[in-house]
């Protein structure tokens, strides 16, 4: 990894198909987005692979858009949104615009350090998986600064998802997921949920289609300034669980 690699990526458009696209949804992230972009850009350019970065704004009302524009990175695409449509809608827009052979969805707060990326890439590139999910619920995971309430709720929701939905992935909500382009475009084109539970729907669909999914332990740091209102999101999550099952029964996913 050299500074020259980073400087070249910043100023020279990649001419070939990207090996990797990284999609970051952003809603009022003026405090957190720039350090995250810096950490990602520095690390990923060091891997020596053609890659692009997509920031999918979600109707931010702060300086997020202006700050990202001011970076003048030629391989960074900023997707604007007039209105706040939910994290799921921002990720979908970003993923469907992504051209990379592999597509990573990553959170704006850098909760999972980008240095964990090779673990997921290995699963797709060398072991034939279609989807690799960063997980805080399997052996080898390191979680920092997560409070007791969030730990308890996470555990309870994981139990419901596992036993009532029969989704094998134990941590559906970690914002660090890697897909093949074919899988990503097919799954996100079929997505109907725009809020917090879109991850669950994507994994439900992936399981339903028969994609091979790896759950990979990653380091996760609970970044301060989280916009998640825990009790409200738990209610939405439970409601969306019912909605996903109902969608499936009605044949909404039949074309996926």
């Amino acid at each position: 990894m050299t500074y020259a690699d980073y400087a070249t990526w910043k100023t020279t458009p990649i001419s070939e198909e990207p090996y990797l696209s990284i999609v970051i949804p952003a809603y009022n992230e003026e405090e957190r987005i720039i350090p995250t972009i810096g950490a990602i850009a520095s690390y990923v350019t060091g891997l020596g692979l053609p890659w692009e970065l997509i920031i999918a704004d979600d109707g931010s009302r702060d300086q997020t858009v202006a700050l990202v524009e001011s970076l003048e990175m030629v391989n960074l695409r900023l997707l604007r949104a007039e209105r706040n449509g939910g994290k799921g809608s921002a990720v979908r827009r970003g993923v469907l615009e992504a051209r990379g052979r592999y597509i990573l969805f990553d959170d704006a707060d850098n909760s999972t350090p980008i240095e964990e990326l090779p673990k997921l890439l290995r699963k797709l590139d060398q072991e034939g998986y279609d989807v690799a999910v960063g997980s805080r619920a399997v052996g080898g995971t390191e979680e920092a600064h997560k409070n007791l309430l969030r730990r308890t709720l996470s555990g309870g929701l994981r139990w419901i998802v596992r036993h009532f939905f029969r989704i094998g992935v134990r941590d559906t909500q970690c914002g660090f997921k890697l897909f093949t382009r074919e899988a990503a475009h097919r799954l996100y084109a079929a997505q109907t949920i725009d809020g917090f539970s879109f991850d669950l729907e994507i994994l439900y669909l992936a399981d339903r289609i028969g994609y091979k999914i790896a759950e990979v332990p990653v380091t996760w740091i609970d970044a301060p300034g989280s916009k998640v209102d825990t009790s409200r999101e738990v209610q939405r999550f439970l409601r969306d669980l019912v909605r996903i099952k109902w969608n499936d029964l009605r044949g909404v996913y039949a074309q996926a």
């Binding site: 957190r32 350090p35 810096g38 950490a39 850009a41 690390y43 850098n110 600064h145 301060p224």
Partner: protein
């Protein structure tokens, strides 16, 4: 994240390691409160990520030192941290040196 302090001549050297974020920023503010000198070098060789709260905490320390006719200087930035300083334009606010030795020596020149 770990925080280690030592003194070299009239300069206090603060060595940080790990992820320097909002969880660590309060410890740095507390450390400033105990500081007896206005000549400080913060060695960031062991820091692999820095967020806006941590940048604000460093800026606060730098202003405090400058008000007392000293300075807070930085050294040994890893590449990701260097890039974050550039993108946030904080590299213009601080004196940054490649090594701790050069940062300490700059106080006597």
């Amino acid at each position: 994240m770990a925080l280690t302090t030592r003194t070299v001549g009239n300069v206090t050297v603060l060595e940080l390691t790990g992820r320097f974020d909002a969880h660590m920023a309060p410890a740095l503010l507390e450390w400033y409160g105990k500081l007896r000198t206005a000549q400080v070098v913060v060695n960031l060789a062991g820091v692999n990520f820095i967020d806006s709260s941590a940048l604000a905490a460093l800026t606060g320390g730098m202003k405090r030192c400058r008000q007392q006719k000293g300075d807070l200087k930085l050294c040994a930035l890893q590449q990701p941290v260097q890039v974050i300083f550039e993108l946030t334009r904080m590299n213009r606010a601080f004196e940054i040196f490649p090594s701790e030795t050069e940062a300490i020596a700059s106080f006597t020149h």
